[in-house]
């Protein structure tokens, strides 16, 4: 293969990477995906305690614990959440969060569900392999 052709294709691919990243960064923020101050604090706590080691958000994280994207279906209120994170269970350690911290973390998790859950139940598969909402 000619060196000039290789340079040209390689350069084009590199530029494509930059352009694709630029397009993504330029996307306007969707209101339902924007976190408020409390939710952002909750996100920092999620990172600080490495919750993603056992739990997932939108499928990203570890699989020892349940996915917490739709937390309100599993832990319906803040009180129950606070008891769970502060006492732990057989597999989960106790985290001793203050009431404010527990609230921030819970608000952050609730915010994950704002754009709407995507599950096999509310989707149908098309013949071309694509999925669409029922």
């Amino acid at each position: 293969m000619k060196a000039t052709h290789i340079h040209l294709i390689w350069g084009t691919l590199l530029i494509s990477w930059i352009v694709y990243l630029g397009v993504l960064l330029a996307e306007p923020v969707k209101s339902e995906s924007l976190l408020n101050q409390t939710e952002q604090q909750g996100k920092q706590l999620w990172q600080k305690h490495n919750c993603q080691s056992c739990h997932q958000l939108f499928g990203l994280g570890g699989y020892l614990g349940p996915d917490l994207t739709s937390i309100q279906n599993k832990i319906p209120n803040l009180d129950a959440f606070q008891i769970l994170v502060n006492t732990g269970n057989q597999t989960m350690p106790a985290y001793n969060l203050t009431p404010q911290e527990a609230d921030a973390l819970y608000q952050f998790l609730l915010a994950q569900n704002r754009p709407g859950p995507i599950t096999p139940l509310n989707h149908k598969a098309d013949l071309n392999g694509w999925i669409s909402k029922k």
Binding site: L21, E27, N50, F58, Q112
Partner: protein, 435 residues
């Protein structure tokens, strides 16, 4: 005698391999013994120690082999400084995990200052790689692969820091999309380094010289690079992200059928009777054949998982873990071990014991892979039924799969550990030959 600059990298890499095997087995036991080591070293510590050790094994060893094969134009001090940065980053990350000092992201959980050391090391390795590339003519396909790998390691690692920008941190959808993009492409970048090593090895052990020079090799290289840049979208079908990202991800992922068919035909060619007779003693050959077999199995699985209608059920299950373990152990680690074996033992025949460890590693990996698929299928069914039973009940139903996973993982640790320790001792005691 000119010394191999890659030797220290490989000693460090093998050390990380032994640690990742040990901590992986410990983490796997958390699935069958609830609360295993919870108060000493819980799963939230074991998982990042295992994952970071695996990342360092792959990244450091891949760079070590590339450095070993790039015998000219590299600045020794730059390579040594990059290695020192990587070693400091690794040790400090492990200390942070043990102290539960988190704050980073998936795979880089120890906070951005630690990962910034890794980025600095990648920049240095890229500079040295570029020096080699400029000073090398005629260039072969694996030279391009190495340049692409080291460039994209820098770009994707830098992309991994974008969440520090407040506007991105506050935007769930953009942040998640960029995180999958950076992680997905990062794997593609290290694959470029490793597949480049595999091409170099094929050329050295003979039999595939023509393949390395062919137009098809370049075609496959560019297709790989194209997939690195665009196919990560198949990770985000279930993230409420931009529709075009999903569409591009799906379309580009389907081009992997070309790889799949090509690899299948190549694999069949690599096993004819006469070649088998000629090479059956050589370790490197067997590690490469193993990697090709695992490429086929994993690519088949990856392509199926890239179809949104299937991904809807498999996303967030152990099927994803089967794919990532199959790829990192079956493909990446086999090529890396093949490369290090070639450095340490050349074409010397494999001993009876080593053949035993090799086959034990392959069979235990197969059981591990299948057990993860089994656990994934159980969770997929649970998801498709609307999660009507409790999570704990579903995990209990997966008990046999997790037992198989932990037991086969223990055997895999023994087998790869035995191979890894031998290579480590050989590299420490002797100076590997250059070329």
């Amino acid at each position: 005698m000119q010394k191999s600059l890659g030797k220290l990298y490989l000693i460090f890499g093998l050390f990380c391999l032994i640690l990742t095997l040990f901590f992986g087995v410990m983490a796997a036991h958390s699935y069958i013994i609830p609360g295993f080591w919870k108060d000493l070293l819980g799963f939230q510590q074991l998982r990042p120690i295992h994952a970071s050790s695996a990342l360092f094994w792959i990244l450091v060893s891949a760079n070590g082999l590339v450095i070993h094969f790039q015998t000219k134009s590299r600045n020794k001090w730059i390579d040594n400084f990059a290695l020192a940065l990587l070693a400091i980053a690794y040790v400090s990350m492990i200390i942070a995990y043990v102290k539960q000092d988190f704050g980073g992201r998936e795979y880089w959980e120890a906070g951005w200052p630690f990962s910034s050391l890794v980025l600095a090391a990648f920049v240095l390795l890229f500079i040295n790689g570029l020096r080699f590339f400029i000073g090398t003519k005629p260039r072969k396909v694996y030279h391009w692969m190495w340049l692409s790998g080291s460039s994209f390691l820098v770009l994707c690692m830098a992309e991994n820091f974008l969440w520090l920008i407040p506007g991105i941190h506050a935007d769930t959808v953009k942040d998640l999309t960029l995180q999958w993009k950076a992680n997905g492409a990062f794997v593609g970048a290290w694959n470029q380094l490793i597949y480049g090593v595999s091409f170099q090895l094929m050329e050295k052990i003979g039999g595939k010289d023509a393949v390395v020079e062919s137009k098809t090799a370049y075609g496959m290289f560019f297709l790989g690079l194209f997939n690195l840049i665009f196919n990560w979208g198949h990770h985000v079908y279930l993230v409420p992200t931009y529709a075009y990202v999903k569409f591009i991800g799906y379309t580009v992922s389907m081009t992997e059928w070309i790889f799949f068919i090509r690899i299948f035909t190549d694999w069949k060619k690599s096993l004819p009777a006469e070649l088998f007779k000629l090479r059956k003693q050589e370790g490197t050959y067997w590690f490469l054949v193993a990697s090709e077999t695992w490429i086929m199995l994993n690519m088949g699985l990856a392509i199926l998982m890239s179809i949104p209608a299937i991904n809807l059920y498999t996303h967030g299950t152990h099927i994803t873990v089967a794919h990532s373990m199959g790829a990192t152990i079956g493909i990446n680690s086999m090529i890396l071990l093949g490369g290090i074996w070639f450095m340490a033992f050349g074409n010397k025949p494999m001993s009876k014991w080593n053949r035993f460890w090799f086959w034990l590693s392959q069979s235990s990996l197969l059981v591990l892979w299948l057990s993860l698929l089994m656990a994934g299928i159980i969770k997929s069914i649970w998801n498709s039924e609307g999660q009507k039973h409790a999570f704990a009940f579903m995990m209990q139903q997966s008990g046999i799969a997790f037992k198989l996973f932990a037991w086969s993982g223990s055997l895999l640790m023994l087998a790869l550990g035995a191979i890894g320790i031998q290579l480590l001792l050989k590299l420490i005691k002797t100076e590997p030959k250059l070329n």
